[in-house]
């Protein structure tokens, strides 16, 4: 594989950049693989990469019904953070943050990790108390957290509404300085390129249409490009999880919902952190191109449509204008939607299943992007060793029977309310 560096850039400049190697191949599916990963999004690509790198399993295929990076890994708002209070989440996402910090070097691909900091605004004394508690929990778990006062925030985001008459005055906030953003497409492409270089077959336009299960064991998958034998299958299909689980007679604590995001026209550098509004659901960061990248609530009803509806965009941006009134003059460039696999406690499921050789990775709700490296790492371990890693041992299916749910937000099993 060609190494990307300033020298290779200069060298290829002499030939008008016409002789770069392809970043990954376009192979025909083989008859049999050791492991098949269904879903060529960030999590699937990362899983294949760590299977090859950490476990030496390279006879692996990724089956993607569309094109890699065309689903949620290309539709999110690129936010990275590990500002969780519960231990299971804190340890898992902090492990991921550490992977993000060196990911560009590891993949030899610039994922544009930007540790610009993420700020959750607080709008009441009670919310400040809750943030202080969460910040302390984070620090006890070795995660960086700073409690900010109103005057600190006046310096950091002076254009926010600090007037005396606003409906939700800014009391302060909780900041994770190492949180930030990364270039989402680059994450998918970087993992794809490295996985491909180690022998993983990335097979696009290949939809899984069925599974061959015999005596409780997986024997192969049926696809739109023929049947493929395998002894292990990992499902990383986010919003389409239930559609595949139905083929395996698995009923899951998952509902599909559409989440929208939008970007404004590009403007000069203004917002230097990721900021979330604490009195509604609105979050925003400024991309390197200058666009304001904004998101908020689910549309609010079950949906498999990768497009959203205007009332929720209006609702989210109303919240946005409450905190950043000067955004009212921004023109909107585009909006889009992605299908979230909303789990019933808001936390993911990374586990073995009742079928031997079938492994499940789902339930990411709106938080899947930041988990890409850590999810891939522990899922690869779960598949390769046929047992869960200690970091995903709490993200099991059994918790919906045992009662040991991980409800960080505490909203109950109604995802559209959260």
């Amino acid at each position: 594989m060609q190494n990307y560096s300033v020298f290779s850039l200069v060298k290829n400049a002499f030939t008008n950049h016409e002789n770069w190697e392809v970043a990954w191949k376009d192979p025909e599916p083989k008859k049999e693989y050791d492991v098949i990963i269904v879903g060529g999004g960030g999590h699937g690509l990362a899983t294949a990469y760590y299977l090859a790198k950490e476990h030496g399993i390279t006879n692996v295929a990724i089956l993607e019904k569309g094109w890699i990076g065309g689903g949620n890994v290309g539709r999110n708002t690129t936010i990275l953070r590990s500002n969780y209070m519960f231990d299971s989440n804190a340890h898992f996402y902090e492990f991921g943050m550490k992977l993000w910090e060196t990911l560009s070097q590891e993949l030899n691909y610039n994922v544009m990790y930007s540790s610009r900091g993420i700020i959750n605004l607080a709008h009441s004394d009670a919310q400040m108390n809750a943030y202080a508690r969460r910040g302390n929990s984070m620090r006890l778990n070795g995660i960086d957290a700073i409690l900010l006062g109103r005057d600190d925030l006046k310096k950091m985001i002076p254009f926010a509404d600090f007037s005396d008459t606003c409906r939700f005055p800014i009391h302060g906030g909780l900041m994770q300085p190492r949180g930030g953003t990364a270039r989402h497409d680059a994450v998918a492409w970087g993992y794809a390129r490295q996985a491909d270089s180690m022998g993983v077959d990335i097979i696009q336009n290949c939809e899984v249409t069925g599974f061959d299960v015999n005596n409780g064991k997986i024997e192969g998958v049926q696809t739109s490009r023929g049947n493929i034998k395998t002894k292990k299958v990992g499902l990383c299909v986010a919003g389409s999880t239930t559609l595949l689980a139905d083929m395996l007679n698995m009923r899951l604590p998952i509902e599909a919902h559409v989440l929208q995001a939008c970007v404004s026209e590009p403007v000069k550098p203004l917002l230097h952190q990721v900021v979330t509004f604490g009195a509604g659901h609105f979050y925003c960061s400024q991309s390197d191109k200058g666009e304001m990248v904004m998101g908020g609530d689910l549309d609010g009803y079950n949906s498999y449509a990768q497009r959203g509806n205007m009332p929720m965009i209006q609702h989210v941006l109303t919240g946005g204008l409450a905190v950043f009134p000067n955004f009212s003059r921004l023109k909107m460039l585009r909006t889009w939607g992605g299908i979230m696999d909303m789990s019933m406690d808001g936390s993911p499921i990374i586990d073995k299943t009742h079928i031997e050789g079938v492994y499940l990775n789902c339930g990411w709700c709106y938080g899947g992007f930041k988990a890409t490296p850590s999810s891939g790492f522990v899922f690869a371990h779960t598949i390769a060793q046929d047992q869960v890693h200690k970091l995903n041992s709490d993200f099991n299916l059994e918790r919906f029977h045992s009662g040991k749910i991980i409800d960080e937000k505490g909203v109950g099993p109604k995802p559209w309310i959260g």
Partner: protein, 91 residues
Amino acid sequence: MLEIKCPFCGKRSQNEFSYGGDATIQRPQLGEEISTEDWDNFVYFRDNPRGKHSELWHHVSGCRQWFKVLRDTATHEIFDTCKMNEDLNDQ
């Protein structure tokens, strides 16, 4: 914008309604022996189809009645709505 026909008020815009989730879930009958698995299924497990979905909506900014809706989760087409004590027409 969805247009939803409230069985009491007629067609209104989506802004007047709030969502109540899967309409097919049945609470386990009280007074009978209920296994923990029945409770788990009631609380956490869903059919989550891609296609026709029976669901509850609440006309929260209107007559404040709950009612049933049969809607396609991929196209958002609404096939039928009815009162809570009626059955949806799935034709």
